[in-house]
Structure formats: C-alpha cells, structure tokens
C-alpha cells in the first residue's frame, strides 16, 4: 500500500494492489476544506510514476534482464489498454457517431487528450492509408524528467501506459491498431498509430 501525502500533511491518495494488474486507488477530495488547483493532475502523475517504478522493481527481483524489459512494457501497455477502453466509453457517451477513421483520430487528439492530459495534440499527420502520427510538444508524463539527453533511454517506460491508453480507446471504437511512441528531444514525443487492415 502506498500513501500520497500532501505538504499540508493530509493524505491525498492511497493505492492498494489487489492482483497482478488490478490496483485500487482511493483519492481524497482535494477540494475538501480548501481549494488546491491542479491537485488531481499531480495525483495522476505521481500514481503513474509509482506504477512504472513498482512494475520495474517487481520484475527486477524475478530475474533475466532483456526478457523483463519487454514484459514490463507489455504489462504497462495492458493496464493502459483496459483503462483506455473504459475511458472512451465515457467520453463518447454524448458525442454523435463517427464518420470515418480520421474523425475518430481527431476526437482522440482533441477531446480525449484534453480529458486525460489537459492539452491537445499539437500536430496530427496521416498518409490517408491507415498511419497516423500524433505529436505532443510537451507531453505531461515527461515534463518531470530532465530535458537533457541523460534520461532519454528511460523515456519509453513512461510512454508504454499512454500507448496502451490510445490502443484501448481505438480498439473499443472498432479500430484495431499498433501504437508505438518515440522521443527525440525530451518533453516532446510522437505516437505512431498504424491501423491493422483485415
């Protein structure tokens, strides 16, 4: 069990692990007593960091170096996938049905991204054949990491969850796809979505 304590000494959130991929998070109401702006964003970022480090620590104690890198990424991706499936169900509840794939991608770039990361995707590019590139110039899960080259190779583990999020959302809307992410300069990153045509 983890507890997140605010500087004021009150408990912001607690996390209990139920099973391999199920965690229960209880958030204290940040608006209780006094207003703390942006507190809910910070909680998500903390939780995400903790999940990543927990999964890597867990795997490191088991063994094998190369093998567990892949399993950690896929565990995180799987968690994101399930969350994405649930979230998209909620976000699209009041929106009209989508015309085509591009319409869906626009929804992901605008509404979905704003709801999850508090900002829009900065650039969406497509070749109109099922490949989309989503560029975020200041990705919120990377902003806490130094913008130099030092931690560049650690970046993928902080992107696996978000890749799963996008893949889960798209899969629930009937678009099976592969999502990969890459980082060249630190707070910015690119998500590449390749739709699997049957």
């Amino acid at each position: 069990m983890f507890l997140y304590i605010l500087p004021t000494g009150s408990v912001a959130a607690s996390v209990v692990r139920k099973s391999r991929s199920v965690y229960i998070v209880k958030f204290a109401n940040p608006n209780k007593g006094r207003k703390i702006d942006m507190a809910d964003d910070v909680l998500f970022e903390f939780l995400h960091m903790e999940i990543v480090s927990h999964i890597y620590k867990d795997q490191a104690s088991v063994g094998g170096m190369d093998k567990d890198r892949a399993t950690c990424v896929s565990t995180l991706e799987g968690m994101g996938f399930r969350v994405g499936q649930g979230l998209i169900e909620r976000f699209t509840k009041d929106s009209p049905s989508f015309k085509d794939d591009l319409d869906v991608m626009k929804f992901i770039c605008k509404d979905f991204w704003i709801n999850v990361f508090r900002k829009q995707i900065d650039n969406l590019r497509t070749n109109h054949q099922g490949t989309y590139v989503l560029q975020d110039n200041k990705f919120s899960l990377l902003t806490q990491i130094s913008s130099g080259k030092q931690y560049l190779e650690d970046a993928p583990k902080y992107l696996a969850y978000s890749c799963g999020l996008v893949r889960g959302a798209l899969s629930n809307l009937g678009m099976d796809c592969v999502v990969t992410a890459d980082v060249s300069v630190m707070p910015s990153c690119k998500f590449q979505v390749v739709i699997q045509k049957i």
Binding site: R82, Q85, I88, E89, K93, S97, F98
Partner: protein, 139 residues
C-alpha cells in the same frame, strides 16, 4: 415501460438480456435476435446517406402485433434493444430516448468498473437494479 431489455456486444452476442417473467421468455430472445438485422441495416445506412444525421438513437426498429422494438447503438457498437408493449400507447419517443440514455449511463459505469472484463456477461447489481426500474412491474 419495457417488457424486455437487452444489451448486445459488438460481435452480436448477448451481454445482458432480461424480460418480464412470462410463459414464453424465448419469444423475446427471438424478437431481439431478429431486430439485430434491422440495427445492422440502420448503422450501414448512417455511414452513407445520412452523413449529417449521426445519432446514437436508432428509433423504432419494427412493430409486431403485440410489441414495438426500439434500438440504440453506442460509439463502441454495443447495441441496446428495448421491447415495449404495443398496447401502451402513452409511451412517447422522448421517454424511450431517456430510457436509452439511462441504460447507456449505467453501461458506461459497468465498463469503467475495473473488475468487469469487457465482453463478459453483465452481472452488476447496480445495472440490474436500474433495469428493474424500467421494466413493467408485475405483481
């Protein structure tokens, strides 16, 4: 008030089906099953001709002698079907709409439950309770 409420998965298998306890429960299953063809037809029509009119509510699917069948499809292509008694003339389109909206809200809650596996039969008590409020009360 409805006599049968069903939730159908993207791949057209039932996630949840509930009808008022009568002698021929199977008849409702049959009615819902038949309605899926009409739903499919309406969805594909939306893609082409009615590009501006993209609503989740599909309206009356088809009337039979005793029942009226209404449909609704979410963005994730999960279908909701509500069967109401034809004799119940007081039921307006608006009321059917609000029933579907309530159903959709509850379904979203089920989907966001981490202990629910997408694609499994819905066993949620909260969902069950909500459906009960929309069913015809038989005493």
């Amino acid at each position: 008030m409805a006599v049968c409420i069903a939730v159908i998965a993207k791949e057209n298998y039932p996630l949840y089906i509930r009808s008022v306890p009568t002698q021929n429960e199977l008849k409702f299953h049959y009615t819902v099953h038949t309605s899926l063809d009409v739903v499919e037809e309406k969805i594909s029509a939306v893609g082409k001709a009615m590009a501006d009119q993209r609503e989740l509510y599909l309206g009356l699917l088809y009337p039979t002698e005793d029942y009226k069948v209404y449909g609704y499809v979410t963005n994730s292509k999960v279908k909701f079907v509500i069967v109401v008694d034809s004799s119940n003339a007081s039921l307006r389109d608006n009321e059917i709409r609000s029933m579907f909206r309530k159903l959709h809200n509850s379904f979203t809650d089920v989907m966001c439950n981490p202990f629910y596996n997408p694609g499994d039969t819905i066993r949620s008590k909260a969902f069950d309770g909500m459906v009960s409020t929309m069913m015809v009360q038989t005493s």
